[in-house]
């Protein structure tokens, strides 16, 4: 199996990371060598194995649905790259 430039472009779109031609070629090379190494898993028969989905074998605890952090809007907004004091600001979405 080989990951070509078209696939790299497709994944970069899904991951929302823009890559130029040069980066794409480097990534294709890296990913191919990594997947070559990952392919080793195909040696194992796993048809009857249950997948391990959680290492901590506990069920989620329930809690009451109540507000614990109050009046922290200002603090949170402070970390935004762009805001108008009340809202996060992003480039225009609707034409």
């Amino acid at each position: 199996m080989s990951i070509d430039l078209k696939t790299i472009k497709h994944i970069s779109k899904l991951a929302r990371i823009s890559v130029d031609e040069q980066r794409a070629e480097k990534l294709a090379g890296d990913l191919n060598s990594i997947f070559e190494f990952i392919e080793k898993l195909n040696e194992l028969k796993t048809d009857n194995v249950e997948p391990l989905t959680s290492i901590a074998e506990t069920t989620l605890k329930l809690r009451s649905d109540e507000v614990k952090s109050k009046n922290i809007r200002e603090q949170i907004i402070k970390n935004s790259p762009q805001d108008n004091e009340d809202y996060f600001v992003v480039p225009k979405v609707i034409e």
Binding site: I3, L31, I38, E39, L44, P51, I55, A56, I76, P91
Partner: protein
């Protein structure tokens, strides 16, 4: 006292309690040495001024009942610290100031410790050499141009170089144990669910654990006792009875059964590592334990499994960095363009590589072939350990397949970099505790570590074994202060 920074955590606490040293004396000493150690690049952010204020306040009204009374401590910059910049070693969080405190750091401050600053690490904890940090590589106190290991490289360098008495790191695939091994210190990766993940910048949520790094086993046990707690704010935190690990520490390990897994004798492993392991086996027998040859048949599949599971979880966790609510934002012509440029400019090469791997293995048409397959193999790896623990109480292995390497030696070959974690990754996949202790030097004089892997929640047992072995090994770290002019 000029040798304050050479003292262990346990000694410092004793001296503070006996009033031979004040918190201010100790804090000043570590700040002085940290300031002289800029060349190590161990810190990303320092908080020295307010550390001194806090130390003075402590001395005015000391509380000696606390477990870490007035002890200064720097922590990995992956832990959110309220009102103090937390970067995760990334450009994308370069200006991020958390509005809350991680549970493990809160536990530390509640026991009287004082924050010295935030320590360098691989970007989002992705790396084995601390060379992926946006803030530059970290130098090892062992030798110039030697990597300290990663991802908790700043933490390892700071403890080995005596810039902090102890510290905490995080370990997703070996990020505490491998740098501990490379720098001649002790590092514990606790059982998954033992330490809260709340407020730790997430990398791979089913693998991440915080843990202590220290000069010796006793200090490590004490710090673990402070950070391990049940926390309702982390849905995977486990409510079990935690020990007073340092108080219950004993070097009596007579009759313990220690497994020696044959699959850890990997191709191309240097003879020095094999010799170290054999010495460790003899050593553990001299302590009165019994060794038993065991098999963990799926060991060689652990790394390929890890390089599906960890990037998959990372690609999902790191989706939040979009330049909208916090962190770095690049200019874009429209919203999508802004996202794509922000992530392209904000993440470094290794992080992008892992996000790409993760996105690919989770993408339509590939999920079953990769992600589901990896989860099944993960189960087999866990079964191997379950089977082994029917016969043994703990497992002894080398911590790493080699000693520390030079800066730049492996940066162009991701797979060879990944192979560093071959002995540590299975432990994370199975959610078990593992501790690395310094056990000898190679021919170049670089430290080598041995790893003791325990049953889930059996930290006390591996700490005891480490404690007994430490006494027999009597390791001396060779720190020459080469970076201090």
């Amino acid at each position: 006292m000029s040798d304050i920074t050479k003292q262990s955590l346990t000694q410092l606490i004793e001296n503070i309690k006996n009033k031979k040293l004040s918190s201010t004396d100790v804090t000043k000493a570590f700040i002085d040495r940290s300031e002289k150690s800029e060349e190590l690049n161990a810190y990303i952010t320092n908080d020295f001024t307010s550390a001194l204020d806090k130390a003075k306040k402590f001395d005015q009204k000391p509380n000696f009942n606390l477990k870490l009374p007035g002890i200064p401590m720097a922590v990995k910059d992956l832990f959110c610290t309220k009102n103090i910049k937390t970067t995760a070693g990334s450009k994308i969080l370069n200006n991020f100031v958390p509005t809350y405190e991680s549970t493990v750091t809160e536990n530390i401050w509640n026991e009287g410790a004082i924050l010295l600053g935030k320590l360098n690490c691989d970007e989002f904890a992705m790396g084995s050499s601390n060379e992926t940090s946006f803030f530059g590589n970290v130098q090892s106190p062992i030798d110039k141009n030697l990597v300290p290991g990663g991802s908790s490289g700043g933490s390892a360098s700071a403890v080995a170089g005596q810039l902090t008495p102890v510290t905490i790191g995080t370990d997703t695939g070996g990020s505490i144990r491998q740098p501990a091994s490379f720098t001649g210190i002790v590092g514990l990766k606790p059982t998954y669910g033992s330490c809260s993940r709340y407020g730790i910048v997430a990398f791979a949520s089913s693998l991440d654990q915080a843990g202590p790094m220290a000069q010796n086993v006793k200090d490590c046990a004490l710090l673990h006792e402070v950070i391990s707690s049940y926390d309702p704010k982390d849905s995977t935190s486990i409510d079990f009875k935690r020990n007073n690990y340092s108080k219950e520490l004993t070097n009596n390990i007579k009759g313990k059964k220690i497994g020696i897994p044959k699959e850890y004798r990997v191709d191309g492993m240097p003879k020095e590592i094999e010799d170290l392991w054999q010495k460790g086996i003899q050593n553990i027998k001299d302590c009165g334990a019994e060794t038993i040859d065991i098999s963990l048949p799926n060991t060689s599949y652990a790394l390929p499994t890890y390089y599906i599971v960890a990037p998959a979880e990372a690609s999902s966790n790191l989706a939040r960095y979009d330049g909208v609510k916090y962190g770095f934002r690049a200019k874009g012509e429209n919203l999508i363009d802004m996202y794509e440029k922000t992530r392209s400019e904000g993440f470094g090469a290794e992080v992008q590589r892992r996000i790409m791997i993760g996105t690919y293995v989770l993408s339509s048409g590939y999920y079953d072939a990769y992600y589901l397959k990896a989860q099944k193999v993960r189960k087999l790896i866990k079964n191997d350990f379950d089977e082994a623990y029917k016969k043994v109480d703990a497992i002894l292995t080398p911590s790493t397949p080699s000693s520390a390497f030079k800066l730049g030696e492996k940066t162009n070959d991701p797979v060879s970099m990944y192979l560093n974690d071959i002995f540590t990754v299975p432990v994370n996949l199975a959610g078990l505790p593992g501790i690395s202790i310094p056990a000898g030097h190679d021919s170049k004089g670089y430290p080598l570590g041995l790893q003791i892997i325990g049953k889930a929640f059996d930290e006390q047992n591996i700490l005891n074994i480490a404690y007994a072995m430490e006494e027999k090994i009597n390791f001396k770290n060779k720190i020459t202060d080469w970076w201090i002019k």
